[in-house]
């Protein structure tokens, strides 16, 4: 029990960095609090961030978003905390908690908004960006984002056709507290992106993430192992990654193809997804690195 608390606390503190007690800058007409990392990336990409006054803890892209004050983890919010930044609008994607906080905000007549479109794949994300473009009066920007996404995805599709092999890729995500390593499955957003990149995640499950076990890694025997930033940074280096149970025997470990990736590039579809798929392609199809 104690360990769980301390672990979660360290997790929170690590995630936080120095994002608490950030002061606000400048005057705002509208004061928007946005609690979705997907929305936030799109808002910045559209150039509509001037009215954003606070975000949730897990919104980490683009880097300048980290200078905004945060109202906490999106599943552990508090009504008073949100109200204290004096929002005129709270944006969220129905992935917020605890439940009573939304109710309290409604009771206090704070305007809440969820965009109609759910951006779960390329088409719907483009529609979401169009909807958000209209909302923020940045239609032109939205169009160009969609166009770029299409272009990048086309390029990726082309390149995918040229690859001779389909490498097996395992994506390890350092999950909750206490050394619980989670791996993303084929059904996750990362899995879809890897498929677009011409690879495949050999781990199948209905859920987006499953708990890692040495057998899963060893039997999957991936060609490439990707670690999200948090887990990689915690371990420190590729050699440290090799010390995870089951990893050492894999082809990926032997050929040194263990790479670090940013979590926020893989967990939702956004304007840079096409770009990220291209980057993934480079990563997973790269020529073997000696040693």
């Amino acid at each position: 029990m104690i360990k769980r608390c301390v672990g979660t606390l360290s997790l929170l503190l690590l995630l936080v960095g120095c994002r608490f007690n950030n002061q606000e800058r400048g005057e705002h007409k509208e004061r928007i609090v946005s609690l979705s990392k997907q929305y936030n990336e799109i808002i910045y990409a559209l150039g509509a961030e001037k009215d954003l006054v606070a975000v949730d803890l897990s919104s980490t892209y683009p880097p300048q978003i980290k200078s905004l004050p945060t109202v906490g983890y999106h599943r552990a919010l508090s009504a008073e905390g949100i109200v204290s930044v004096k929002p005129t609008l709270v944006l969220h994607d129905n992935n917020v908690g605890p439940e009573h906080v939304m109710r309290q905000l409604e009771q206090l007549k704070i305007p809440l908004k969820v965009f109609d479109t759910k951006g779960t794949d390329i088409q719907s994300t483009k529609a979401l960006m169009t909807e958000m473009g209209r909302y923020f009066h940045k239609e032109a920007a939205a169009d160009s984002l969609n166009h770029k996404l299409d272009q990048d995805m086309d390029k990726a599709a082309q390149r995918a056709g040229t690859y001779s092999s389909k490498p097996k890729v395992v994506v390890i995500h350092f999950g909750q507290a206490m050394n619980i390593y989670l791996t993303m499955t084929r059904a996750s957003t990362a899995g879809t992106m890897i498929t677009w990149a011409g690879g495949e995640i050999p781990i199948k499950s209905e859920r987006g993430m499953v708990q890692l076990s040495p057998e899963i890694i060893a039997s999957a025997d991936p060609d490439v192992i990707l670690l999200t930033d948090f887990g990689y940074d915690r371990l420190g280096s590729t050699d440290q990654v090799r010390t995870l149970p089951g990893v050492d025997s894999t082809r990926a470990a032997k050929s040194g193809r263990i790479f670090r990736v940013e979590e926020h590039d893989l967990v939702y579809i956004g304007p840079r997804t096409g770009e990220n798929v291209l980057k993934l392609q480079d990563l997973i199809h790269a020529v073997k690195i000696a040693g």
Partner: protein
């Protein structure tokens, strides 16, 4: 010396605690993420009673969020501390927590069930579904503990049987929680984790009323049995010789504990250590008379939780720390100090 009545060496500290509670409660309603001044509060109360439609945002926050939360802190802290006093008296052991008879793990089980399978089971009572699920879970687990321990052959010291059964049932229900965490989708799993760390942010007036009734009832009934719990300190046999119906006492006290802890936990999630450290601190300060421990416990529990909640709300504002982390951060060192204290024998 013996002309002192049983209350008097303890009498001095209770008023001090009461005043401290009042002061800290005042801090608790005054400070938070949103700035609310005392004049705001007064206007809120005035407008709220005469023209509730005319309240501004700050006043509404005070009346609908800040004030019920402060009161909930008092009641929940008092309930958890009293649960601790009762269980430590029942088991004659100062490292016992109210969760030992399964109440906390049962409540966690009920809550996890709701988080993960709630939509499947089609049971809806609106915002009350989670508290009801947690309460039922807590009561179920404790009932299990009692039923199983009653069927064992233990003759003397059947409290040991209760303790051991409690450990087994706890393990069972916690593995259930683990299972739900495992099969949960990611957001649900996170809900479970954060519920297990506790939060006072869900306090509303309905909750406050229920918590208030439960706390007062718990204190009243507990005080009636305080003397019997004192006799129990010497052992079940001695209590019997002093005319105590030990079996009935165990049942009543455990039921009382379930009522106090399950109801509180169902509104706030699991908050650890309050039930453990408050009785210990009071014993160190004055002594072990259960009447004193119950009243002092209610006051000190209220004090401790309100302070913890203040810290949880202010340290990282506008974000909030789960309160279970604060109470654990304070409780763990106290717990370790308690273990090293050789005055107690376990």
């Amino acid at each position: 010396m013996p002309s002192k009545s049983l209350g008097s060496p303890y009498a001095g500290i209770l008023p001090v605690l009461a005043i401290a509670v009042f002061v800290v409660a005042a801090f608790s309603i005054r400070f938070g993420a949103v700035a609310i001044s005392f004049s705001d509060m007064i206007s809120a109360l005035r407008t709220g009673s005469s023209a509730p439609g005319m309240l501004n945002l700050t006043e509404r926050i005070f009346l609908e969020i800040r004030l019920p939360r402060a009161l909930a802190c008092l009641f929940v802290g008092a309930s958890l501390a009293m649960g601790g006093v009762l269980m430590q008296a029942l088991f004659r052991n100062p490292i016992v927590e109210p969760g030992l008879v399964g109440t906390s793990s049962g409540a966690a089980f009920g809550a996890s069930l709701y988080f993960v399978l709630g939509s499947v089971l089609k049971f809806h009572a609106g915002q009350w579904t989670l508290p009801i699920a947690a309460c039922l879970g807590g009561a179920l687990a404790t009932a299990c503990v009692f039923l199983v321990s009653e069927t064992t052959q233990a003759n003397r010291e059947s409290t040991t049987a209760l303790l051991l059964t409690g450990i087994a049932v706890n393990a069972l229900f916690l593995s259930g929680v683990g299972f739900f965490s495992y099969i949960a989708r990611d957001p649900q799993a996170r809900s479970i984790t954060f519920w297990n760390l506790g939060t006072l942010s869900g306090a509303n007036w309905r909750a406050v009323i229920i918590l208030g009734i439960v706390t007062v009832l718990g204190l009243g009934i507990g005080l009636r049995y305080a003397r019997h719990l004192n006799s129990l300190m010497m052992g079940e046999e001695e209590a019997l010789y002093l005319g105590v119906d030990v079996k009935r006492l165990k049942l009543t006290i455990t039921a009382l504990n379930v009522m106090l802890v399950a109801v509180a936990t169902s509104f706030t999630g699991i908050i650890a250590f309050v039930g453990l450290i408050v009785p210990h601190l009071l014993r160190l300060m004055r002594g072990s008379d259960n009447r004193f421990l119950l009243i002092g416990g209610a006051l000190m529990g209220a004090l401790l939780l309100t302070l913890s909640d203040l810290a949880a709300r202010l340290l990282l504002r506008p974000a909030e720390l789960p309160i279970g982390i604060v109470t654990a951060a304070v409780g763990a060192p106290v717990f370790m100090g308690l273990l090293r204290n050789r005055r107690y024998r376990f």
